[in-house]
């Protein structure tokens, strides 16, 4: 009998408590390992890139893995309106209903900034070589400047934190009040000036997508231009927490001018940066390919994608035209006002004579064939050649039935081998125009997250526009003119001989359309209250079975609501929750 007892006893003893409790998380890397290992240090830095809103889809509303609604920046300004009204937040935004508790497009990037500060503190103690550490440091300082720029353009002055705060940091140091907007822009400038010295001029192919000297200067060029125009056109409020003393304007324009000039000098001397001109004989194709043809000469800094294999976005999914789409798509309609902003090749105004156009019938391609080639490279409309066919978005067909003309609008009827109402038409072609820029023609049925087109954060074209604007504001008009004409010449549009501020702004509007600039440009120029509080119009096409041409009608108001941009919306609210959490913060005016 006893032997059984011993068996039990032995089993018991053999299972020691420690066996059960000696457990570790087996998916973690220990603290010490990271900064002495270049691979892990890189991995740490890549996470910083990952968290920054380099491309708008890093912020806001994720719809699918990697598929956030990247078209958002187009539909909250005068570049577009969203198809339907189902993204309620955009509608609310456009209606001017955003209030203090707005939660959209917020980027309070202090967790990223903390990681950056932590990196900058810890990299010093690393066993890596000084050169390596210097480059790392410059890279992270560039990224931190980018982070502060993303905040200052949203909120104005924000707390400037450059150290890793500790839990036991005294309250007066912990609760940092908002710096002035000027202090933030000045910080950005200093950081970028320092970083641009240490960063490499170019990166190896395997490091493509990481910061370079010219990425830092490009950010400086853009940020200082913002600062200059806010100083000039904005109001100084809250003791400088938002706005600048007006007198500061030219100083910032000068900084922007200088930064741009450094890039332009490098471009001219080395040719490593410059305007993309691979298809000089076909300016439409050339301008379209600029955004599809990755890592081209015009790229200063871009976000890399490889689609479903790891990192993709959903631009194509959202822009896919109806009839081709996967159910979603054609989410952005381009208002006629932007169509009209594109001039004709001879430099004449793009404005359409609407009254005249409602008479008779037209070949649509003929109608727009003489427009600025950037238009046909950036916008799709009825009969635009696409994927070997053409875009169909007419809303119905006129047929003669027993001598009486009749309009048929059912997609289930075919006339002359053509469906009576195109799948992309009917109620879905609100303005008749959709964006083409960044929409990859090779993707036949794009899926969410499938887009692998790199996003150009900084391209040389913008630098020329930044330069032109800064030069103009500094009264160096001839230099501005030269820069603008470089872009016009590439686009095959007649050169300008004289410049006004509106010419520069319009050039920027058409050159940089759909590139996430416009919503910030109308803010920094302080023209959003007038330019965004208005109705936008659209065009509808009706197929004429007898002639094969289209009749046109115009819709004077394409939104189902009235747009309003209130003065306070030049800045996002700090929000009550952040203020409750840190009472030293003050709210932006008007909220």
């Amino acid at each position: 009998m006893k032997k059984y007892f011993f068996i039990l006893f032995t089993v018991f003893l053999s299972s020691c408590t420690d066996d059960f409790l000696d457990k570790k998380p087996i998916d973690r890397i220990s603290d010490g390992a990271v900064f002495n290992d270049p691979a892990l240090t890189d991995a740490y830095i890549y996470q910083l890139y990952n968290e920054l809103p380099l491309h708008m889809n890093s912020v806001g509303w994720s719809w699918n893995p990697n598929g956030a609604a990247v078209y958002f920046p187009m539909v909250v300004c005068d570049e577009g309106l969203q198809q339907g009204t189902y993204w309620e937040q955009y509608v609310k935004w456009n209606k001017g209903l955003e209030d203090a508790s707005n939660t959209y497009d917020q980027w309070w990037g202090y967790s990223t900034i903390r990681r950056m500060n932590e990196f900058l503190e810890k990299i010093g103690g690393s066993s890596l070589s000084k050169t390596q550490k210097d480059i790392y440091t410059a890279e992270v300082r560039f990224l931190r400047a980018f982070a502060y720029f993303e905040m200052v353009k949203r909120y104005g002055g924000v707390p400037l934190i450059t150290t890793v705060q500790q839990i036991n940091t005294p309250a007066e140091q912990l609760f940092v009040p908002r710096s002035t907007e000027k202090q933030i822009y000045d910080f950005i400038h200093t950081e970028l000036s320092d970083a641009s010295v240490l960063l490499p001029e170019t990166r190896l192919d395997i490091e493509y997508g990481r910061a370079t000297k010219y990425a830092a200067l490009a950010l400086d060029s853009r940020a200082m231009l913002y600062a200059g125009s806010i100083a000039k056109y904005g109001k100084l409020e809250l003791d400088g927490v938002v706005g600048f003393p007006a007198a500061e304007a030219s100083g910032y324009f000068q900084k922007s001018y200088d930064a741009s000039q450094k890039i332009m000098a490098f471009a001219q001397s080395t040719g490593k940066i410059g305007l993309y001109n691979k298809y000089p004989s076909d300016p439409v194709k050339n301008f379209y390919q600029l955004f599809i043809d990755e890592k081209n000469v015009e790229t200063i800094f871009s976000v890399q994608y490889n689609g479903l294999s790891g990192k993709g976005h959903s631009m194509d999914f959202w822009l896919a035209v109806q009839g081709i789409s996967v159910g979603w798509g054609q989410e952005v309609n381009v208002p006629l006002e932007l169509v009209e902003a594109f001039e004709y090749k001879d430099g004449s105004s793009g404005k359409l004579d609407r009254t005249a156009l409602t008479q008779g019938s037209y070949s649509i391609t003929d109608l727009f064939k003489n427009k600025d080639s950037r238009f046909n490279a950036s916008v799709l409309y009825q009969d635009s050649p696409w994927q070997g066919g053409k875009i169909e978005r007419y809303s119905g067909t006129y047929v003669m039935e027993n001598g009486v003309e009749k309009l048929v609008t059912s997609p289930n009827q075919t006339i002359n081998g053509k469906v009576a109402c195109s799948p992309g038409g009917g109620p879905y072609a609100v303005t008749g125009f959709t964006p083409k820029k960044y929409y990859d023609e090779r993707l036949v049925r794009p899926l969410a997250g499938q887009s692998e087109t790199d996003f150009l954060v900084f391209r040389y074209g913008e630098i020329l526009l930044n330069f032109a604007e800064a030069a103009f504001e500094l009264n160096h008009t001839p230099e501005a003119l030269t820069a603008i004409n470089q872009l016009r010449s590439r686009a095959g549009v007649a050169a300008k001989t004289a410049l006004g501020i509106n010419d520069i702004r319009n050039e920027r509007r058409v050159e940089l359309a759909f590139e996430q600039h416009r919503l910030w440009d109308v803010r920094r120029w302080r023209i959003a209250v007038t330019d965004l509080s208005r109705d936008f119009s659209g065009m509808k096409y009706y197929y004429e079975a007898a002639t094969g041409k289209y009749r046109l009608t115009f819709v004077n108001k394409v939104d189902t609501y009235t747009r309003l941009f209130q003065q306070r919306h030049y800045y996002h609210p700090i929000t009550p929750s952040r203020i409750a959490n840190s009472p030293k913060l003050i709210e932006n005016p008007g909220y």
Partner: protein
């Protein structure tokens, strides 16, 4: 049978029959006399003259003088004091009276024995009566259990004659009785049986086990106990009760049966319909199956379950750091003894949604769409539908061009089939006892395609083997296979697609291979339900449990035994997710031309494998001993758990053909793989002591010393004590006269437990791999800090107090009331306010929040038998509500923030929102409206929009105007009423179940119309605001949801209280003479249903009150089922 026949007695007491006296509760004390029996001098008179003679000595003397054996309980013997006797040749009876009466004792003589009892006990007998008792003729018989096994120790009595005997081990008894006497057979755990004697001499009786009784044995943590000895709040549901609900998911069968256990079944999807369990509103309880953690129990076969016990208070404390939310103990069946008993169960069920929202018809859709466009300001010329089209959709004269499709009807069938079968065998002999079970269940889904299915196989073998007289081995093996197959679209999306599908499109075309395009959004509710179109998601899971236990009765120490047990639990899952591309078309019926409208999806295959293993070691010493009135039970146990899990998945895309649906056949360009692993463990020392005095005063004390690697080394061990007391008041002497009071018991408990379900390894810092970022040409791994660590992190600390009172009166009525209070401290939260958001890191979680929870459970039952009719009614109601004692939050200074946002000191389930006050009726009204409702001076408002109340009269509607609009979505009142009626071979069981104190939020899709042009709810169409319908129930139509209507308000926050006939079962046991022909001793057939009737507020909308509140309409509806089944003992 022991005989106590010592000599001939008094003539009138001549022993004629053998008998024995044994009492249930009395320790028998026999006076083994060494006195000689005097053949002649043995008189029937007694002479004792002595002062202060000890009671025992007096009895001895009586025995010496008369030869009678005296039987007396030790209790009496000890408590009876000395006497002054002066008896001279007094007849025995007088002598006994003189000795016993002053002491409140009486006696009872049978044969040559004298039994001494307390005078007030029921069997007190006057000497004169004894004579009459002994009349009658001998009746013999055998008492057996239902299965034919003999039953010893049955008390056989003739009440009217105060005659009593007991059966021996072979179940035999003899008693004298006359025709017309009522003979009563009584045994603990069996129903009392009374038989009126006719003229037979042999009376064989079979006793039926009693369903609920104080003697019932209840499973508790690491052991069993009798219900009467319980000191904690414990509810147990036996298999017979569970089986009354004809469901595949076992957890569902608990609905309404356990006071304090709240169940909410949010989905009716086959294989995915596990209800949310919540004991007393505490949170998710610990589930223990046969002593160890083995995952959830919803998919164990009901037929293999013996009982489910719910431990609510200190009774759970023996599970220590995991027990804070209560414990559910599931115990499987084990072998009995005797011939194999084979049971076969089979049930066939048809299920149909309890209800589902009705969508608009094509005509309604077209009409309302235009109306919505007009409301939104679209010019009449630009409306989507012409008047003629609307008319055509409505009158359906031209269905080819103007279809009218009810997509739900097209995609879903009326009834989905379910069946389940189980065959089990149970039996055993002296040394081996066994239980084998094989079960199979299948649930079909709602779709007409039949492409949604759940299948389950359960096998179990529970063996008990007596290896040697002191060594018993238990080997339990159980396996389960669950397979689920569904279209490769989530249930929510299928419902979304059905909901979105516009009724103005035809579901199919003449060419069935061409799928219909539905306008802009490619969703087609019909093809979403078809695996051969969209692909499939197959899920195959295997669970295995092997448990080996040895019990060794330690020699030298009586009633001490050691047990060692190893339990291995493995869960492995295999998932195959195949998606494929499909196209949709437009169709020109007139010309029979199809045009491609869209291509959807992409061929891709993801396969994944997940494994998790848990090995539980349990070693214990057990002791159970009774000395006189003291009974002790002790347990010391060590438990150690090792667990680990890993998973692996791989994806390939761009298949050139759908012919080979295997990984290797996919494109290599965008393939990806993923895998992770975790490990965990636990070590615990457990002790328990039970002490009972006289079965009246009960005490249980437990401790558990728990170690968990989730926490830092110096914070990982915790000590969890509990103490509970019970008082069986009805056993007290002062209540023994109260005949109507069968039972009255008071329970008090206190326990300290934990909840360590959070905070895994938060005491460590480090870096974790995060997502990837593209640099160069390939995605690069990123790492991210795991955040600030908290080395002090530990489990939640829970203190529970419980007072319980239970009673049974008049043999029929029972009631129990439990009142509890639980304090939950150390809930994880991050400090608010102490750091600004610009700090950039979230503070680590700390054990700082606290809640308390109070409530009660009340049960009332009535059980009675009237001839062939018997009834059992049981109703229960429970309530619980939690309050934040401390909720980490900023110190609010604004009065409205305190009112609306502050949570400390408030009930946990409170929802704030806006208050509505009808609709705007006209533009003038809006124009003159003094309150700025939309922040844009009402410029965005239209007639038919909701009016919000300006609660603070500041002429603007903003967050300050919010008020309390309801509670949360988990009920805090829960009730059930279980009614059983049986008459002869028929029985009816009905279970009513309900809940109150919770709300249902109508959200997005349900409160708007035409978002994405999707179809809308018919109730909205019928009751929307129009200028002509000013007393409307819903706002105006709009394309999409106007911001004004979107606010969380009382308008969309509905009370969801309900009462439903959860189940109804009618069963009939076929008469024996019929069943014998098919050689089945017992065969019963039943019809049953679940969710047959519901009374609630949500029927207008078409939502089930148990539906998830947050995604109105987009869920798999709860099911009403109709079942036909049979149960046979072969």
């Amino acid at each position: 049978m022991k005989n106590y026949i010592l000599s001939e007695g008094l003539p009138f007491l001549r022993p004629r029959y053998k008998f024995l006296l044994i009492s249930n509760l009395i320790v028998v004390f026999l006076l083994f006399s060494i006195f000689q029996v005097q053949a002649d001098g043995m008189g029937q008179t007694v002479t004792i003259e002595q002062k202060n003679i000890a009671f025992v000595d007096a009895l001895r003397e009586i025995k010496r003088q008369t030869g009678y054996t005296v039987v007396c309980s030790s209790e009496i013997l000890k408590s009876a004091g000395p006497s002054n006797l002066s008896l001279k040749n007094v007849p025995l009876f007088q002598a006994l009276e003189a000795l016993l009466t002053p002491k409140g004792l009486t006696f009872y003589v049978e044969g040559k024995s004298i039994a001494i009892k307390k005078a007030n006990s029921q069997s007190a007998t006057k000497p004169e009566e004894i004579k009459t008792q002994l009349a009658g003729r001998p009746i013999q018989g055998i008492v057996t259990k239902a299965d034919g096994q003999p039953l010893g120790n049955v008390t056989v009595s003739i009440k009217s004659k105060n005659r009593v005997t007991t059966t021996d081990n072979s179940g035999a008894y003899t008693i004298s009785a006359d025709a017309g006497d009522v003979i009563t057979f009584k045994h603990v755990g069996y129903k009392l049986k009374e038989i009126t004697l006719a003229d037979q001499q042999v009376l064989n009786v079979s006793l039926i086990p009693e369903e609920t009784s104080l003697q019932e044995v209840v499973v508790v943590g690491y052991g069993v106990t009798k219900k009467m000895n319980l000191t904690g709040s414990v509810e147990s549901v036996k298999s017979a009760e569970l089986e009354k609900m004809p469901v595949v998911n076992t957890a569902t069968a608990l609905s309404g049966k356990v006071p304090g256990l709240v169940l909410k079944q949010s989905s009716g999807q086959p294989g995915n319909n596990d209800p949310v369990l919540n004991i007393r509103g505490f949170g998710s309880p610990l589930v223990i199956i046969d002593g160890t953690q083995q995952g959830s129990f919803g998919n164990l076969d009901i037929e293999e379950i013996e009982s489910i016990t719910v431990l609510k208070d200190a009774a759970a404390a023996v599970y220590g750091a995991q027990a804070g939310n209560g414990v559910v103990l599931v115990t499987t069946k084990r072998g009995g003894s005797g011939m194999p008993k084979i049971t076969f169960n089979s049930a066939y069920t048809l299920s149909t949604p309890t209800r589902y929202p009705k969508m608009m018809s094509a005509g309604e859709y077209a009409e309302l769409y235009n109306e919505a466009q007009l409301n939104d300001g679209v010019a009449p010329a630009n409306l989507r539908f012409s008047t003629a089209a609307i008319a055509a959709y409505k009158n359906q004269n031209d269905p080819a061009n103007y279809p009218n499709t009810d997509w739900f009807d097209v995609a879903a069938r009326q009834y989905a089939p379910q069946y389940k079968n189980n065959l089990n065998v149970n039996g055993g002999g002296e040394n081996v006892k066994y239980f084998f079970s094989l079960g199979q269940a299948s649930e079909g889904g709602l779709w007409r395609s039949g492409d949604s299915e759940f299948k389950r196989y359960n096998v179990r073998s529970n063996l008990d083997v007596k290896v040697t007289p002191s060594l018993t081995a238990t080997i339990d093996l159980a396996g389960r296979n669950e397979s689920r197959s569904n279209p490769n679209i989530s249930v929510n999306d299928i419902f979304l697609n059905i909901l979105r599908s516009q009724p103005i499109y035809a579901p199919t075309y003449p060419d069935p291979t061409k799928y219909a395009a539905l306008g802009r959004v490619g969703a087609n509710g019909l093809i979403s339900t078809q695996k051969d179109v969209v692909g499939y998601l197959d899920d195959d899971r295997n669970y295995f449990t092997g448990s080996f236990k040895l019990r060794y009765d330690i020699p030298f120490v009586k009633n001490l035994y050691a047990e060692g047990r190893l339990t291995y639990f493995k869960d492995e899952a295999y998932l195959k997710n195949w998606s494929q591309q499909y196209s949709t078309y437009n169709y020109d019926a007139a010309n029979n031309v199809y045009s491609l409208a869209s291509q959807n999806g992409q061929t891709a295959l993801t396969e994944s494998q997940a494994h998790s293993r848990r090995m539980t070691h349990q070693y214990s010493l057990n002791y159970d001993r009774t000395f006189d009135k003291h009974s002790f039970k002790g347990l010391l146990l060590f438990e150690g758990i090792n667990e680990d899990a890993n998973n692996l998945s791989a994806t390939r895309r761009n298949y050139i053909s759908t012919a080979v649906q295997q990984l290797f056949a996919g494109g290599t360009d965008s393939q990806s793989t993923f895998g992770t692993a975790t490990q965990n463990g636990r070590a615990s020392y457990i002790g328990r002591l039970n002490y009972a005095f006289d079965s009246k005063y009960l005490l249980e004390a437990t401790f558990r010393y728990d170690g968990s690697p989730r926490f830092a080394e110096n914070r990982r061990w915790g000590f969890f004590p509990s103490l509970s007391l019970g008082w069986n008041i009805s056993d007290e002497n002062f209540l023994s006269e109260v005949n109507w009071l069968d039972n009255l018991k008071l329970r008090l408990s206190f326990s300290n437990t934990g909840n360590d379900g959070t905070g895994n390894f938060q005491y460590l810092t480090g870096y974790q791999y995060n997502s990837t970022y593209m640099i160069g040409t390939s995605p690069k791994q990123t790492i991210v800090s795991t955040g600030l660590a908290n080395p002090y992190i530990s489990w939640e600390d829970l203190t529970t107090y419980n007072v319980g009172l239970e009673t049974r009166v008049f043999g029929s009525f029972g009631a129990s009331l439990d009142v509890f209070y639980r304090k939950r401290e150390g809930m994880l939260a991050t400090r608010a306010g102490s750091l600004p958001f610009s700090f950039g890191a979230v503070l680590p979680s700390e054990n700082i929040n606290s809640q308390d929870n109070r409530g009660f459970e009340f049960v009332l039952n009535y059980r009675r038998k009237f001839g062939n009719f018997s009834t059992n009614l049981s109703g229960n109601v429970s309530y619980s509500r939690a309050k934040w004692i401390h909720f980490e939050e900023p110190v609010y200074e604004d009065g409205d923030q305190i009112r609306i946002n502050q949570r400390s000191g408030r009930y946990v389930n409170q929802t704030f929102g806006y208050m509505t006050d009808g609709f705007f009726q006209s533009k003038e009204q809006i124009g003159n409206w003094p309150i700025n409702q939309d922040g844009a001076k009402n410029a965005t408002l239209k007639p038919g929009d909701l009016i919000y109340k300006d609660l603070n009269n500041d002429k603007i509607i903003n967050w300050r105007d919010q008020a309390l609009i309801g509670k949360g979505d988990l009920p805090n009142w829960y009730y059930g009423l279980n009614t059983d009626f049986s008459w002869k071979d028929f029985s009816v069981n009905a279970l009513w179940q309900g809940a109150a104190g919770f709300n249902f939020q109508i959200t997005a899709d349900a409160k708007s119309t035409f978002t994405q042009d999707q179809n809308g709810y018919q109730y909205f169409y019928a009751n929307r605001w129009t200028p002509g319908r000013t007393d409307a129930q819903y706002p105006r139509a709009s394309v999409g949801l106007p911001a004004n209507q979107d606010k969380l308000s009382d308008f969309w926050y509905k009370k969801a209280s309900y009462l439903r006939l959860k189940s109804l079962m009618l069963s009939y046991s076929l008469p024996k003479k019929l069943t014998k022909r098919i050689s089945s001793p017992n065969l019963s057939i039943f019809v049953a249903g679940t969710n047959l009737l519901t009374f609630d507020n949500l029927s207008d909308f078409g939502y089930d009150p148990e539906a998830p509140s947050w995604n109105s309409g987009l869920y798999y509806p709860q099911q009403t089922t109709y079942t036909l089944g049979l149960k046979a003992n072969l």
